[in-house]
């Protein structure tokens, strides 16, 4: 299993779900529950890539025991979005559970049991909202039936609340736990008999619910990847090829072996080129009894490398070439109207270029994983976003069956796309096999910044044409950046349809002539996906350009966006594209691009932020909006010049329409954090290469937002909606940088065409 681009691999859609009783043994195996209880599995009926029906084995489990303890299996990875809370919360709410008595158990990576567990692309809530509700409602139905039979009353006179069934007319109530022996004898009800609660009856959904792990985190008990300990565990720190594709020529390890605590030196065979998305880089691992010894041992290694064809790579040179190429005609990816014809007679052309650097994920937890290989089987503990991919990659690296790999998922100390790649997990597995001991591979911060799967650097050129009445009549957008796919397949020299569907070809504005073109570029490092992916650069260029166009037309930027979105209607881009419109893996009919919803978030944010008010000379506002991952977001950034002449972001206003808001507190926290994350992208972070080697090493050269410069107040205005829920992990990022650049322009008169810009 090697997804090259997980957002758009034919996603197994959860069209309908089926609830059934798994064997009790199955559940016990999973959760090590001690007491007898009732268990429900949910199987999602999925249509596969070609629409054929497929039944997955249980995706999630729910159990209630005699002591009223409800256990729910979380099958998605927790990396800070709150998903480990939000999905179980949906089941619990439908059920009428006592939330304080719910226990959440993290599932291992297992495709047969849980279907797709890839936690990426902001789609967990989108995919599982409905099935989770049905699971809860089915269990509720059974409990109501059991209680009403016991009391000889009509079932619809009863309801569940706080872990009990109640019959208000008689004042009777009974704990769920006391009904389980009856429920165990029942058949699962037909799905058409199961009725979902009306939205107004929910007690958890739509509210601020604290995350399940908050106390463990605040007390240091939460277990992340590097926190897993096994008897006799060895620690590995690896010296990897400084240039992607490099190979070891020779090693002198005598000084390393002389370090107290160092036990062994092991070579990891790397993929070479292409580097691939799921394989380790070539390296020499120092195996020691503790991390410090391994770090010191690595320093003492003398390695001669054959650095291979990327050793002359200079990212600044490539960016220059990429920018140059945008002057030419490229491969046309979207075409509307007759752009040449239309621009013959234009009176104003605005032509701008935008350059964005490579970015590293820089999760505060650097990659780490633990593996124990014994008797042909491998047990792994890893902070992975994609446990099944990791499981498959480990199996193939070790030459064993997937079934012989157990993949436990720990909490992730941040993911942002980095920890979907299983390279570090595979390293741990290989080293455990080679040494015969349990091994923890520990990446240092330098390793993390030097050997990431980077967000691609990019060059863009946009030419906008206004006619004599200042109407925007043509939009010509060139974009060029090394594609994610090129990491595995060097023949991919243009961005994929999927990457262009991220904020580029889905340009929503009502312009009669549009041409979107791409140009060739090669990958000289490992390119991956970072929180919101190519939306980052596309949104920056488009929103900055729209601000300039509005100015040239003499229209307020907010009013301009509203005008350019046109009538309330559903957009479809397909007819104008050369290639597919990915729509984040969903059909455009089910998840249309609705200009009305975008306009509503724009109006809301403008109103909440007090857009248009006189702010005086030391403050200014900037605006941007971006639909991404099917969620509509508008953003206003307020910048302020302090007495010291420094510019700070005082306020950020977001308005978001993500359909039904499941856990409002976690939606807000994603936006709060997304703004801080994007603040770093906008103003301080950049990865550059010289001689094929990354020039940044630690947090003194790869700069991310620190508290003093971080945006001070972040206001999140959630639009009330009964539309299908969509994700919020990534959508806060794209509009932030352009909104802040537009604000800075208002304040200083200087536009920024290159990120990062210092303020």
């Amino acid at each position: 299993m090697r997804p090259t681009f997980p957002f758009f691999k034919p996603k197994e859609e959860t069209d309908s779900s089926k609830i059934f009783k798994p064997s009790r043994r199955d559940f016990l195996k999973l959760s090590a529950l001690a007491s007898g209880g009732v268990f429900l599995g949910i199987s999602f009926q999925c249509s596969g890539p070609k629409g054929e029906d497929r039944i997955f084995a249980p995706n999630a489990y729910l159990s209630i025991d005699k002591n009223n303890l409800i256990t729910l299996i979380a099958h998605r990875s927790e990396m800070g979005t709150g998903i480990r809370t939000s999905l179980p919360m949906i089941i619990a709410d439908e059920l009428g559970a006592d939330w304080s008595k719910v226990k959440i158990v993290q599932a291992d990576g297992d495709e047969d049991k849980y279907g797709d567990q890839n936690t990426d692309g902001s789609y967990s809530v989108r995919m599982f909202y409905e099935p989770m509700r049905r699971a809860g409602a089915t269990a509720r139905h059974m409990l109501l039936m059991a209680a009403s039979q016991k009391w000889k009353v009509a079932m619809d006179e009863c309801h569940t609340e706080n872990g009990k069934v109640h019959h208000p007319d008689s004042g009777k109530s009974i704990n769920f736990g006391d009904l389980i022996s009856d429920v165990q004898k029942m058949e699962i009800p037909r799905s058409e008999d199961v009725i979902l609660k009306p939205f107004g009856d929910y007690k958890l959904i739509g509210k601020d619910i604290p995350i399940y792990d908050v106390k463990d985190i605040a007390t240091g008990k939460a277990v992340f990847g590097a926190d897993v300990d096994l008897d006799n565990i060895k620690i590995a720190v690896v010296s990897r090829s400084p240039v992607v594709g490099g190979k070891v020529v020779s090693v002198n390890d005598s000084a390393a072996l002389a370090v107290n605590g160092v036990e062994k030196i092991v070579k990891i065979e790397g993929a070479g080129l292409p580097a691939g998305l799921d394989q380790p880089l070539e390296g020499i691992a120092v195996i020691a009894t503790n991390t410090w010894a391994a770090i010191k041992g690595r320093k003492a290694l003398e390695i001669e490398w054959d650095l291979g064809e990327n050793q002359g790579y200079d990212s600044a040179d490539q960016l220059k070439e990429m920018l140059e190429s945008t002057k030419n005609s490229g491969k046309v990816r979207r075409e509307r109207g007759q752009i040449e014809e239309a621009t013959k007679s234009t009176t104003t052309n605005i032509e701008r270029t935008y350059e964005l650097p490579y970015y590293a994920h820089a999760t505060i937890e650097p990659p780490a994983a633990v593996a124990h290989f014994t008797n042909g089987k491998c047990e792994v503990w890893a902070p992975t976003q994609h446990p099944q991919w990791a499981r498959g990659a480990v199996a193939s690296a070790l030459g064993i069956e997937v079934a012989d790999v157990t993949m436990h998922v720990t909490l992730l100390g941040g993911g942002f796309g980095r920890k979907s790649k299983p390279d570090f997990v595979v390293e741990a597995a290989i080293l455990s096999k080679e040494t015969g001991s349990p091994v923890r591979v520990q990446w240092t911060r330098e390793d993390d910044l030097h050997h990431d799967f980077y967000h691609a650097h990019s060059a863009q050129r946009i030419k906008a044409s206004l006619d004599s009445s200042k109407k925007l009549i043509a939009w010509n957008h060139h974009t060029v950046f090394p594609a994610i796919g090129a990491t595995s397949n060097p023949a991919e020299v243009h961005p994929s349809d999927g990457e262009l569907g991220l904020g580029c070809v889905d340009f929503p504005y009502d312009v009669p002539n549009i041409r979107i073109e791409t140009h060739e570029s090669k990958a000289h490092t490992r390119i991956g996906w970072l929180r919101s992916v190519s939306n980052i650069h596309h949104s920056y260029a488009i929103n900055c350009m729209m601000d300039e166009i509005a100015e040239a037309r003499g229209i307020d930027p907010v009013n301009h966006a509203l005008e350019m979105l046109g009538e309330d209607r559903n957009l479809s881009f397909k007819e104008e594209l050369d290639g597919d419109f990915s729509n984040y893996g969903e059909s455009i009919e089910e998840y249309p691009w609705e200009t009305g919803r975008m306009k509503a978030v724009i109006q809301r944010v403008a109103q909440e932020a007090g857009w248009g008010q006189n702010l005086g000379g030391n403050k200014a506002m900037g605006f941007a909006c971006q639909k991404s991952f099917l969620t509509y977001v508008a953003c206003i950034v307020v910048v302020e010049k302090g007495g010291d002449g420094k510019i700070k972001v005082s306020d950020v206003h977001y308005s978001v329409d993500c359909g039904i808001a499941v856990n409002t507190d976690r939606i807000r926290s994603q936006f709060e954090g997304g703004a801080q994350f994007a603040h770093g992208l906008a103003t301080s972070s950049a990865i550059t290469f010289k001689n094929g080697v990354v020039e940044q090493h630690n947090f003194d050269s790869y700069l991310i937002a620190r508290m003093p410069e971080a945006p001070k107040r972040i206001h999140v205005h959630i639009v009330e909606s009964m539309e299908k829920p969509t994700g919020v992990g990534e959508p806060p990022v794209p509009p932030y940088a352009p909104a802040s650049a537009n604000a800075v322009y208002k304040l200083t008169g200087k536009r920024h065409y290159k990120l990062p810009f210092s303020i």
């Binding site: 770090i295 947090f699 971080a710």
Partner: protein, 152 residues
Amino acid sequence: MENYTLKINGESHQVTAEEDMPLLWALRDLLGMKGTKFGCGQALCGACTVLVGGEAIRSCSLPVSAVGDQEVVTIEGLSENGDHPLQSAWIEHVVPQCGYCQSGQIMNAVALLQRNANPSDQEIETAMAGNLCRCGTYNRIKEAIKTASSKL
């Protein structure tokens, strides 16, 4: 290798380590105390913050040999029931996202409030500048520190 007696969270612990081993790795690898996290190894991120002699110290950059008989407090020893005013405030504001940086944030905030029971926004920002959070929980951290300070 040398033997060291460390006073951690009110108890004495013996470790045998190289003298240059940072306290962080003595805690994590030799004593199995995993609440203190590794983020950068260069005193740049604050994930490894503990109290040494009452001061917030980056344990990744303090050799175990330099600890001497100073009292070390880690997140595990901050309170018996996880109810130190800062921990309670952290829970009340649901500060964490991924949670990885939070032990260090809390320990750094403990030292701040010990020095200055009622810090201003600016003082909080300055004091917390060495603690990175990639998830971006800074504003809630600030609120939680203010809540805790009002209850001290």
